[in-house]
């Protein structure tokens, strides 16, 4: 997997790129705020894994939640949503092209179902969490079944190895 690179907008509406997050271990994850099961459980698992880290290490890690549903998720929605999961979760989004570029870079994709009468629709998105070290190099891929403890162990090793 290539090193971390993107051009997106953060939850305060500012343009950001991957360089702004150098120096931190980054856990990148694709989703959307109307997601009822997978996104919230994954985000809470990731924040749980942070709690299992020693206090000083926690500050070295950021969780980037990339919304692939710019049609519904406004910057404000994102800020409210990620706020539920604590200060270490940052919401990002962008226009379709920028999001497609980022997804393609990590061999993942997203797509939308047909809207129902209320305008609600399904979003299919990748379920992996991509972990980058403080220099932006791709180091780990966290899959569905991994527990918060295991993730914390991996993070600790990664932080200790790269300093």
């Amino acid at each position: 997997m290539p090193e971390l690179s993107f051009q997106l907008v953060d939850e305060t509406g500012h343009a950001v790129d991957a360089g702004d997050f150098r120096g931190k271990v980054v856990m990148l994850f694709f989703g959307f705020t109307h997601c009822h099961d997978y996104c919230p459980t994954t985000l809470s698992k990731l924040t749980q894994s942070l709690k299992a880290l020693p206090g000083d290490m926690r500050d070295d890690v950021l969780i980037l939640f990339v919304s692939v549903d710019p049609g519904r998720d406004t910057v404000e929605d994102l800020a409210v949503y990620t706020g539920n999961f604590g200060p270490r979760v940052i919401g990002l989004t962008g226009d379709d092209d920028d999001l497609r570029d980022l997804a393609k870079r990590y061999r993942t994709t997203f797509s939308y179902g047909e809207p129902d009468e209320h305008g609600n629709y399904m979003v299919s998105h990748g379920r992996a969490v991509y972990v980058f070290d403080s220099r932006g190099r791709a180091r780990l891929m966290i899959l569905n079944g991994q527990s918060a403890e295991l993730i914390a162990q991996d993070l600790r090793q990664l932080i200790e190895a790269t300093g």
Binding site: R107, T109, S111, R127, N144
Partner: protein, 286 residues
């Protein structure tokens, strides 16, 4: 569909040098060969070139157009892609009798070994081809490759690694062409190095059965065998079980039909041989 839509469809999802060099090279060499054959006063015919170029075009489209995007992000589309690479496209290419035309083209371009050393290298390169075209080895490799790339662990890695993904698709295409070249070789087996018609029919049955078993296994499996499509997201929000069901059917039914068509082609070659033998006997009797 508007022209811009069409262009967007034809654009590759991920550009591949292999696709834009090897397939056109094979096609150009074939065209030159067909022209050289025509210049020598023989007929290249219509159906062989038609079949060959159609096969190349289909293979190009499934690996280097929007179809490849769907092949990467939907399991059943991936199975469709391999159906074209390993069965339909490869069989159409083989039906074009490409080796004959490629050889003619090489001769007309004066490309060939110039020294004894080069000739030795060429002979050494021909050995793996001959091994892969051995009736037993070739048959095992033919269905073995399908099994290999569908081992969940290996399939997972192949869908996430650019290099493995290319290796997977090209190994399917090359192996498919080599296999079908044996089955539909138009020369009488006595005059060629290819096995007899009976052996060819055996190869078809011998490779069809394990594919049917695997296809049925995937179709009826209750577990989610290929979670890489959930990990990477799907090209449209189709239920994972439905995706796997369609993919299993795609592995099971169309390849079995292709093998049945190949068997019919071999049977027609047997009938033609017998008719020819009858005519010869008849001519001798007069």
């Amino acid at each position: 569909m508007s022209p811009t839509d069409l262009i967007a469809w034809l654009a590759p999802y991920r550009f591949s040098w292999l696709a834009v060099t090897l397939l056109p090279l094979a096609a150009v060499l074939y065209g030159l060969g067909a022209r050289a054959v025509a210049n020598a006063g023989e007929q290249a015919g219509f159906w062989r070139p038609f079949s060959f170029f159609l096969g190349v075009l289909l293979c190009y489209l499934v690996i280097h157009s929007r179809l490849d995007y769907y092949g990467q992000y939907l399991f059943f589309m991936h199975r469709g892609q391999h159906l074209v690479l390993h069965h339909l496209g490869a069989l159409l290419i083989a039906l074009g009798d490409p080796v004959r035309f490629w050889k003619t083209a090489m001769r007309s371009l004066h490309i060939g070994p110039r020294t004894a050393g080069q000739a030795r290298i060429l002979r050494a390169l021909a050995i793996p081809v001959r091994v892969l075209q051995h009736p037993v080895v070739g048959s095992i490799v033919f269905f073995g490759l399908i099994y290999l790339w569908l081992i969940p662990r290996i399939h997972f890695d192949a869908m996430l690694s650019e290099e493995l993904y290319l290796l997977m698709n090209w190994s399917m295409l090359v192996d498919g062409v080599l296999f079908w070249l044996v089955i539909v070789d138009p020369r009488p087996p006595r005059d060629s190095s290819m096995p007899g018609y009976g052996t060819r029919l055996f190869m078809i049955v011998f490779t069809a059965i394990p594919q049917i078993v695997l296809g049925a296994y995937i179709t009826f499996s209750r577990e989610n065998l290929y979670d890489v499509y959930s990990v990477c997201g799907r090209a449209w929000p189709i239920d994972p079980e439905t995706d796997q069901l369609y993919g299993g059917l795609m592995t099971w039914i169309p390849p079995a039909m292709m093998e049945a068509i190949a068997a019919l082609i071999v049977l027609s070659m047997i009938m033609r041989r017998d008719r020819y033998a009858d005519e010869q006997a008849h001519a001798r009797a007069h």
